[in-house]
């Protein structure tokens, strides 16, 4: 008998200690909770934290301007869900955010975390906005009604990279004929290079090699030597920051005079320039956005971001910023913080022209949840800053092509 009492008191003790952790929810009655699902710790935390900044800036501005007017001035409140960069933690966090009553979830930066978390959100009927994760299959063939993908598809990154290569080189009088594709061996690398291979072939470029390299390796010398030997007209890379820096360093060491076209991620990270100094110059990368694009207000928002965080704004932050604005638009339209109403409003949401910071006309959502017009830009590092060089309609500078060799710099 006493053993049963002991067991019950143990159980009670556990329950009590849990409620001790309850804490007091510090939300006012009419606040609207917004779930932010990102890797805030773990090895991709720097990017997750940067993504979060775009949300934070947008929410500050929205609240400062009076909140959601159709909800009586309700303020938006960020509720963080730290995925730690892991799938099963991401799932736990989505569940928690759902229980905490968020009106919508925005996340999760990584495609492999976005897959299962959008699915849970679909089951729980929570609107899920994907600002940055790019894998095509996030929206393709799933038939989801609650997923809203602001980011371009992975294959579109490739489409625009190849398009740029052909345009720029043809304009300079020497069209690119051969490329080497090189990508890191995770989902991001694979998804991107699949698209690059497709569009390269479609445009008649010869793919000399499609190299999959192990992420975070200390030595890329043999592989880069191989590329030098093959001598393509351009190298298209898919790398995170560590590898991007190492590969460029190795190319300089070995005197490989071939232009680099990166695929955002590592090549668009300010740390790329910080770590390479002059060696970063002339690198091209496809990007989601740049402060210097020809859109009214772009430079101002970038300046506000820089002032608030002390860090320059990049494409990811622009995407998360605009995604938050999309949510605000939907909330205003729905006039309610009911998830169904917000989801319905999102399906009809459209932000165009200069109200849309991103380098294309309208953000809206097709039946499959993808934003159909989401285009990319091509940036080149010139004199230590990223400059938009393509497409011509919003470019701020001309691409420098051909790229000077290492010895000539």
């Amino acid at each position: 008998m006493s053993r049963i009492i002991k067991s019950l008191s143990l159980a009670a003790g556990v329950a009590l200690s849990f409620s001790a952790l309850s804490g007091v929810a510090a939300f006012a009655a009419d606040d609207v909770k917004v779930g932010i699902l990102l890797p805030l710790s773990g090895s991709v935390a720097p990017i997750g934290i940067n993504n979060r900044r775009g949300h934070e800036l947008a929410i500050d501005e929205i609240n400062a301007a009076g909140g959601i007017k159709s909800l009586g001035g309700a303020k938006l409140v960020m509720v963080d869900g730290d995925t730690q960069g892991k799938t099963n933690v991401g799932i736990s966090e989505v569940e928690k955010l759902g229980e905490q009553g968020v009106v919508a979830i925005m996340g999760a930066y990584q495609s492999n975390v976005t897959f299962p978390t959008t699915q849970i959100a679909e089951r729980l009927r929570i609107p899920y906005i994907d600002p940055v994760a790019i894998a095509d299959s996030i929206t393709e063939g799933r038939g989801f009604k609650y997923t809203f993908k602001v980011s371009p598809k992975a294959s579109w990154y490739a489409r625009d990279q190849i398009q740029f290569l052909i345009t720029a080189s043809t304009a300079a009088g020497e069209p690119v004929k051969s490329v080497v594709l090189m990508h890191e061996d995770t989902l991001f690398g694979n998804a991107s290079s699949d698209g690059q291979e497709h569009f390269a072939k479609e445009n008649g470029l010869e793919i000399l090699a499609n190299i999959s390299y192990p992420k975070d390796t200390p030595d890329m010398t043999s592989t880069v030597a191989q590329i030098k030997e093959m001598n393509p007209d351009a190298v298209v890379l898919v790398s995170y920051i560590n590898d991007a820096v190492l590969i460029t360093k190795t190319m300089r060491e070995l005197g490989v005079d071939i232009p680099i076209v990166g695929t955002s991620a590592g090549h668009i990270d300010p740390a790329y320039i910080a770590n390479l100094g002059d060696a970063a110059n002339y690198t091209f990368t496809v990007g989601e956005w740049n402060p210097d694009i020809k859109k009214d207000g772009a430079a101002e928002i970038a300046a506000r971001f820089l002032e608030k965080f002390g860090i320059p704004m990049n494409g990811h932050a622009a995407e998360t910023y605009m995604s938050t604005m999309v949510l605000r638009e939907a909330l205003e339209k729905a006039g309610s913080s009911d998830r169904e109403a917000v989801a319905a409003a999102l399906r009809d949401t459209k932000i165009c022209g200069d109200a849309n910071l991103l380098p294309y006309d309208c953000i809206e959502f097709a039946a499959d949840g993808q934003s159909p017009q989401a285009n990319l830009v091509i940036l080149q590092i010139i004199d230590g800053t990223y400059k938009t060089v393509w497409p011509a309609s919003i470019a701020a500078a001309d691409a420098i092509w051909p790229v000077p060799g290492w010895a000539a710099r």
Binding site: R3, I4, K6, S7, L8, L10, A11, A15, F18, S19, L21, S22, G23, A25, L40, S41, G42, A45, P46, G48, I49, R52, D80, D82, K86, T87, N88, V89, I91, S92, E95, K96, L97, G98, E99, Q100, N112, F115, P116, Q119, E122, R123, L124, A135, S137, R142, G143, F144, D185, T186, L187, G189, N190, A191, S212, A271, A274, F309, G310, I311
Partner: protein
Amino acid sequence: MSLRIHPVYAVGLILLLALPLVAYSDGMKAVMPSGLAGSSLMHIFILIFFFAFMGQAWNIIGGFAGQLSIGHAAFFGVGAYVSSILYIHLGISPWLGMIAATGFAALVGAGLGMVSFHYGIKGPFFTLVTVAFTEIVRLILLHWEFVGAANGLLLPYEAEPTFWQFQFTGKEPYYYIALAMMLGSILLVSWIARSRFGYYLHAIRQDEDAAEAVGVPTKRAKIQAIALSAGLAGAGGTFYAQYTQYIVPDDLVIGRISVEILLGAVIGGAGTVMGPIIGAFILIPVGEASRLVFESGGAGGSLTTILQSDAGLGEKFALYLQYLGAGGGGGLAIILYGVILMMVVLVMPGGVLPWLRRKFRSARA
């Protein structure tokens, strides 16, 4: 076979069976910390059952037989991929797929066991073989187009799934399936513990050479153990794939699932029947709680900015302290995990369960 269940466990089981009935109630929402009621709470328990099950699978070879494997992710992965491929390409129900997954993973485990133990690989060498093996499996999966390579496999979402598709709209079915799997694994392992096979394993763990000398068929027993262990891990893989609807080679990276599996078993008590269960019940809530309690970090700005700023050394240090106070780079929860593991290894090397038993025994004496 008499099954004496300790009253603690009996009460626990009753509570667990009843949990789904109260998880969504307002009372639960009031008692639990923000966001941990309802569907979220169910998810946490599903995770506990899953890791308890996987820990128990590991326990057979790692605990009872004393062969430390850090490579169970490979068996888990094989199982998950087998059932998923069968479902996606051949439309075979994942329930049958789970059986195939168990069999396939058991074969792989037996194969690894046969090769390793035939060549007399023991102790830390065996551990290293399991590490290398998992990496080899991961790399193969990473480059094999048929199984999706680096993209992994996305299991198709059914808006209105049937039972045979092993997909459910609510959490309850997953909950009870996972609970059943956990209970099944407990029954299996307690049977093993009382059987001759179990005594063989125990003898091998204590002193393999002595066991060999008295006629224990060490090689055969170890192969059987690893096959059984791997098979169960494969079944767990199927469950995981069906629950998360996504399997990717990244899940097999050393240091994640492989370590998480054995962490629970070791902390709870490797080589005991209930050790892995206790371990999972400790670790998962600790992980969840620590994510609640500790700041994620990043709120204090970026370390790189502090480093590269023009401030003087003293000022930089002050900024750095601020940064740490705001959570630094995050990850305090994982520090906790590591410290707990080390403490348990040092203070209670047999695990929490044997330690508790000794305490209660001496209390009663």
